[in-house]
Amino acid sequence: MTERNILAAAVVVSPDRTGMDEIEAGIQRRRRKRERSDRIGALAYPIGVMAALVVIWEAAARLFAIPAYLLPAPSLIAQAMVANSTVLIKQSVATSLEIVLGFALSVAVGVPLALAIFLWKPFARSVYPLLVSSQAVPKVAVAPLFLVWFGFGLLPKVLIAFLIAFFPVVINTAMGLAAIEREKIYLAQSMGLSSFATFRKIQLPNALPSIFAGLKISITLAVVGAVVGEFVGGQGGLGYLLLIANGNMDTSLLFAGIAALTFLGVVFFILIGIVERLVLPPHAVERVSFERGSM
């Protein structure tokens, strides 16, 4: 009786086990396949839609014979890009320099400012409200003033880029630092961590995802700032190129310049994303990439 039970159990268990292993392996295989196709789809679908739009645009421009100064066909824009490639690259470099310097200045000023707001209550109470309300000033309108003060060189463009881009760095850093569970601080106190060590080991890493979200907003605003600076007092850069193209009614070149600016913005955004991936552990990057998706 017992023997038969054991035998029966053995008969039931052994094929079941291998069966389960196969099923598990199959599920894993399917999951990996789905993840791979998800990743490809995340790129392929938007690119497909983009390509379709370009084709429709091209067809519409030819079919309805839309004048090139109103809406040049994509093929014309591509031609303009190739014909002006040297000047586009040269002006892109000039604009990139303004973007990078403006962004670097935003970080260099924004992060310490946020730290001061977080660590020093009187500073927070006096400066923070002013900082927030100062955002009501349309920064683009201040740009001409910067020309008066700083002339036509690189400096005013960098400063305008900074002025437009630094606020999200301050806000996200300050909010990230403030948004911490009280228990984490309690825990640090019970461990006898000094306030500096608590900041370094707990508060700062806790704020990093929020800080990076701020940096990503800031870099796109730095692009806007650099172009505004070039519009107002440009002697070079993509913004200046746009003005020239506009003046010449060269709409193809105008589009080529816009494309170059868009490309710059995307490249800088991706660069920040790469740094973020290097600095943050996987979990936080997952969270932020979701945020990026919803932006």
Binding site: K184, M191, L193, P205, P281, H283
Partner: protein, 263 residues
């Protein structure tokens, strides 16, 4: 038996805690006094909002009392205690550290020898069934596993006093049973002094040497019950008449105070 072990290790005298809210003052704790011996497992059981969590925070020196005093080993507490291990209702893990890294945070903070600490951390994690999960991040662990990590973090430095604030409240019944057993094993092995806050009668009776039953807010002591069940206690003992009798005593107090109502 008049040996030093009977001297109170923790002494709480006439403790009051009043929170000021916008419209009124809320009295969370009202004139609470009790003592705890070294090596004793002491639980506070009571309804939500009876101030038992507040009591634990005050005992940890993290929250100042409005009145009364807390003394540990004869010394009055007026700043956060660092001779404790603390476990909160939620695991409070650092998301950017692995399970091992979270346990070792305690060792780093106390400037312990890290090599030695890592060996002990792995041992501890293994003893609560987390062997093989040392390098996982919190988001890769289940709720029960996370709470186990936080218990290991509270134990790695062999604290004099372990303070636990409803540590198993957010877990499912099976996981809770397992963790209660794990905790008992650790406590017996290390002869720890534990102050344990819970709203579970079964948990309190199972784990404790003494159970302090709290009244609804403002929280004060309703009765102190000695649990004289042999250790180690087994899950089967929960079905024993003695266990049922202790549970019944606490239940009757809750019924009498209107914490529970039978229709």
């Amino acid at each position: 038996m008049n040996n030093p072990a009977d001297d109170p290790y923790l002494r709480v005298d006439n403790l009051c805690k009043i929170y000021a809210t916008r419209d009124a003052e809320v009295r969370a704790l009202n004139d609470l006094s009790f003592t705890q011996r070294r090596g004793e497992f002491l639980s506070h059981v009571g309804p939500s909002g009876c101030g038992k969590s507040t009591l634990l925070m005050i005992a940890a020196g993290l929250v100042p009392p409005s009145g009364g005093a807390v003394c540990v080993a004869g010394r009055s507490i007026d700043r956060p205690r660092t001779d404790i291990g603390i476990v909160f209702q939620s695991p409070v893990l650092l998301e950017w550290r692995t399970a091992l890294g979270n346990v070792l945070l305690q060792a780093e903070a106390r400037k312990m020898d890290l090599k030695d600490a890592e060996r002990r951390a792995r041992e501890l994690l293994g003893s609560v069934g987390l062997g093989g999960f040392e390098d996982r991040y919190p988001h890769e662990l289940s709720g029960g596993m996370r709470q186990r990590v936080s218990i290991c973090r509270a134990l790695i430095h062999n604290p004099d006093h372990l303070l636990m604030d409803e540590p198993f409240g957010a877990l499912d019944a099976l996981t809770r049973d397992q963790l209660v057993l794990d905790l008992q094993a650790l406590v017996i092995e290390r002869r720890m002094t534990v102050l344990f806050i819970t709203h579970s009668i079964a948990e309190a009776v199972f784990l404790s040497d003494r159970v302090i039953v709290m009244t609804p807010r403002p929280g004060c002591i309703d009765r102190i019950i000695d649990i004289k069940l042999p250790r180690p206690r087994t899950l089967a003992m929960r079905e024993s008449p003695e266990f049922a009798d202790y549970s019944r005593q606490i239940l009757d107090l809750f019924l009498a105070r209107g914490v529970l109502r039978e229709h």
